[in-house]
Amino acid sequence: MRSLRNGMLAAGLGAAFVMTSSVCAAPRKAPAAPKVPELAAEDVTVVELKDRMPAHWLVVNDVVFTHLLDGRAYIVDADKGTYLGMVPGGHSHAGVQFSPDGANLLMPGTFFARGSRGERTDVITWFALKDLMPGPEVVIPPKRMQALPLLSSIPLTDDGRFMLIFNFTPEQSMTVVDAQAKKLVGEFETPGCALAHMTGARSFMMQCADGSLQSATLDESGVITLGATTDPLFDRDDPATDKPVRVGNSRWLFITFAGAVTEVDNASGTPVAGARWRLTGPGEQGWRPGGLQPYAFHAPSGLLYVLMHEGGPGTHKHPGTEIWVFDVARQQRIARLPIETPATAIEISKDADPLLYTALFGSGTVVVRKPADASVLRKIEGLGNDISVLQAPPVAAPAAGAAK
């Protein structure tokens, strides 16, 4: 301060009111004497990102469990290992959805008029990737499910036309937002069934409390009509998780806590259970999938990456200590890769030359790995408190559609 005060008094500024604009930002001519040129006066700039999200950028969701009001998504460049920016969420932050062109992030948010109390407002906000500024906003019924993050509670139709928001009050319903017109379509009752797993531009499956699946369609105006229902496909003793894996346009793998896999196809509008197999083989009954995001499917290669740990019933949120890799078409495991740090979330980029990502809830660190052997390429640290789910952006040719 001494130097500041003296310097500024010498310059006749007192406590100076200095313009740092381009008006006076031109670099000064260096005085005669010193050998090193004087630093130029700088303009302030604001960073812009890209128009579309590159395949190796990643959205890292932080639910901030100890300060649930301030959930957020971080954007990182996994090739460079750099932090690029942040998109604010809200109370009980679930995640974002990418517009199919990768140019916009749709962010569901829940806010209270007085922080953690007062009138509740739920909104969908569009953030352009380019400037990460809050753009259009659609107010939706303040009923969005508040839970540990599940991306299937906030899906976007494949063409980006509609966003679906699962409500739990505890009545169960689905809010539909027209993402093109940016307005609310309406709220539709879905008694007894939850979440939306997209099986086409205008169709999806829901999971119901008795272990059955419910088919549903959207019409061109976004109105939901419930369709066929299956018999209960899963036991109450070993339910399918609420984190199924999309392996084709209309095909999903439902995987139970114990690792039993059932492929279900909704192409016909009636969910049809197909192949049934298990993640574990003989002598591996002690191993289970676990975590907040235990599965990542890479459509170009048809490979499924699963976080596995040793543990019994009730350990479905335990972090994985190995990544098991499966060829879904052949229903076979092709690799078993121990990892040096346990992980509760796994994701893989959607391009042909992918990066594999893992994160452990509470670590604030994303580990970037080689898919072939899970070896560590780099780590991105300081990513907040409570990483829940990781989200790789879509690539030019939608992976899910291509795989069918």
Binding site: F65, G115, M145, Q146, P191, A209
Partner: protein
């Protein structure tokens, strides 16, 4: 699509005994009939007490520790560490009227008890004694036994989650 179970029958009997919550129960009808059930706690009857109610005389263990027997299926901040106890909400919060159930074995008597995991609500997250045990917890599409859900949804004060109780409701068998 008929997903009715014995819970609805039980509800009908129980609701008849509680006049004060009929309006609320009525709203729950579709949910209960369709998906199973959840614990209903009549918030209008919740007592305010000068102190947190301690554990019972025939219990053992430290209710501020995640290892405490009642917490076998909890996922959240323990109200015991937040100014409350296993059955008392901290001051300035409201217990959730509905929630989900777990069953835990009390090591002191060897019996299994049904534990009600009501949330205390309306205040920013407590942040103390985070405890996740998940024994018996189901996916969110089976909400009556799901601990990933914020159960504050039935409160007057809104869904802001503060901490979780673990209340003895009776013998499991």
């Amino acid at each position: 699509m008929r997903r009715f179970d014995r819970a609805a029958e039980y509800l009908a009997r129980t609701a008849a005994r509680s006049t004060s919550r009929r309006g609320f129960i009525g709203r729950l009808g579709a949910f209960v009939t369709a998906t199973g059930a959840a614990t209903l706690l009549p918030v209008s009857r919740v007592r305010a007490e000068k102190a947190a109610v301690p554990i019972q005389v025939h219990e053992e263990g430290d209710p501020n520790s995640c290892d405490y027997w009642r917490y076998c299926a909890v996922d959240g901040f323990l109200c015991s560490c937040c100014g409350g106890s296993a059955s008392s909400c901290p001051p300035g919060t409201e217990p959730s009227p509905i929630t989900w159930l777990g069953t835990c074995r009390n090591p002191a008597d060897g019996r299994n008890y049904v534990i009600s995991y009501n949330d205390c609500c309306g205040k920013a997250a407590c942040g103390r004694c985070n405890c996740s045990r998940d024994e018996g917890a189901t996916p969110v599409y089976q909400p009556s036994t799901a601990n990933d859900l914020d159960w504050c949804l039935g409160t007057q004060v809104g869904v802001a989650y503060h901490c979780s109780l673990s209340v003895v409701t009776g013998l499991a068998d």
